[in-house]
Amino acid sequence: MSADSLRIALVGNPNCGKTALFNQLTGGRQKVANYAGVTVERKEGRFTAPSGRVLQILDLPGTYSFDATSPDEQITRDVLEGNYPGETAPDLIVCVADATNLRLHLRFVLEVKRLGRPIVLALNMMDAARRRGVVIDVPELSRRLGMPVVETVAVKRDGVKALIARVDGEIPDAAPAQPDDAASRADLHAQVRELLAATVTMPRATAELDDALDHWALHPVFGLAILSVVMFLVFQAVYAAGKPMTDLIGDGFGWLGEHATAWMPAGPLQSLIVDGVFGGLGTVIGFLPEILVLFFFILVLEESGYLPRAAFLLDRMMVSVGLTGRSFIPLLSSFACAIPGIMGTRSITDPRDRLATILVAPLMTCSARLPVYALLIGAFIPTRKVLGIFNMQGLVLFALYAAGIVGAMVVAWVMKKLRRDRSEHALLMELPSYRLPKLRDVAIGLWERGMIFLKRLTGIILGLTILMWFLSSFPAPPAGATGPAIDYSAAGYIGRGLQVIFAPLGFNWQISVSLIPAFAARETAVAALATVYAVGGEGAGLQQALAANFSLASALSLLVWFAFAPQCMSTLAVIRRETNSWRNVGISFGYMFVVAYVASFLTYQITSLLT
């Protein structure tokens, strides 16, 4: 350890308020990455203490016990013991415990103490504890634990002053390391009881507010009703608040493109910048507002403690199809976009449940499918009423959403039947106290996720868009050519090649061509069809061209294809990143291709017979 820098590790049970404390200590100066080779998040921040020392703070994953049951917990243990490759053991451990939940949290403190390293205990949420009438004899607790104890309130601006002063001071002496075995582990509970009896008085075990809220939030009837209303409002907000911003961004990139057109000489370079770069980037960044709005609500629900309640209500249903209650949120996010959904599966600690969720997440109807659905439904489905009240077009759209959900359930169920590992995987989920979300924590969380989305995707999508542009622009049509340019390009040849595969689904070569850009980003299929049919825009012109050029059977088949097909490339890239395995990418591409192919084939053949 050098004299002017100190490595500190923050550890504690899940829900101890550790991340809020970390945010309070480091502010925005955080670096989020992964531990080498695994997809467990590694958060590090730094700040300069009053003494001038630089404190490097590592926020370790929340852990209940060193008897690790998940990769997160294993990493926490290895890092603290100095056994994790590439990580130096910390100079000081700050153990964070929720003062309102000491029975559970002190046990882990004792477990950390047995590592025999210098520790400071941060008694967090002291304000909530006082409100509940919990009285803690801090000097006595410190004496009995043999470690300095500091009171903190992570959500208050100067709630961490005492902690900073303490960690900036002398490093406390460590207790001697003790062996870790089952017998001594059972002992820890007895020690906790003794500690609590001697130092803590607690008028009641839980907050009255939690009891009252849970009575309604977990009610078999009202609980589900509340959950439906919350979800409905979130989705309304995503479209109401996100859509205008998305349109604004689209217009902005359109404007940039126009200026580039005016400013640059016409030619391949202009077309690359305007269509490839601005068009492609505009599409991706256009999704950002909707994704951020969705993430905002998910973060607020997460911080408030409601999300585990939702998982509680839905667990049984999810288990019956081979998922877990915790899959609910990632799958919900996937309705906006599968990429944040798959990123969100990090909250599922069990690797098997997590993989199952990742594999079915792309089947949820993401917002990128909507432009394609809207175009085809508008062109082929009549606007007549069904049963007097339902709009036929709306029914088809609903059916497509339902097909995604039912498809995901069937796929998850089949995977459950196929896998060799039939062992029981636990729920064992803590339902934390309700809390008012803090703007600071939500803002930092939003910033992190937004940056991950942008960083990961702009590179991939930009590359693919440029590749697509290249394929559909070269070779240029020969002099005196009559058909649209794409007809003569590499994409045209590929499309005609693909048509051999897709003919049984009723796809002509134009549709087959449009499937190539759709693989990069689904909504570009609309623009690609417009290009091949040589009509401008996405309006009525394109719909008429489509209606004139292919049958109802082909259109329905294409809709079904878009509901299940292995898309988009960025999703597959995220699966690769999040699971660290090309095999899983292969599995998800393979099964979706088969499902989409079979479903579209049946749709086309059956509709052809009937019409």
Binding site: Y64, S65, D67, T69, T100, N101, L102, R103, L104, R107, A182, R185, A186, H189, M202, A205, T206, D210, D214, H215, L218, H219, P220, V221, G223, L224, P308, A311, F312, L313, D315, R316, M317, V319, G325, E424, A426, L427, L428, M429, E430, L431
Partner: protein, 81 residues
Amino acid sequence: MRLSDLPKGATAVVDRVDDAHASDPIAQRLRDLGFVAGEPVRLVAVGPMGADPLLIQIGSTRFALRRNEAARVMVRVEATA
């Protein structure tokens, strides 16, 4: 009796956690979370479908346990004083 057989709203005291099979990680985790002899527990709520999972209050903490997880925990219902 088993924790999974406790009626909703009832209170009991943990007796022990049984391993469902040799070196059962779920049983060990339950012990680590505080399901040890003498600890009072209460069944606060049950899930809307098949009364599963169960919401168990232990100390100041609430845990959602599936039925077969809760079945590992043996409890005694103490005579109300």
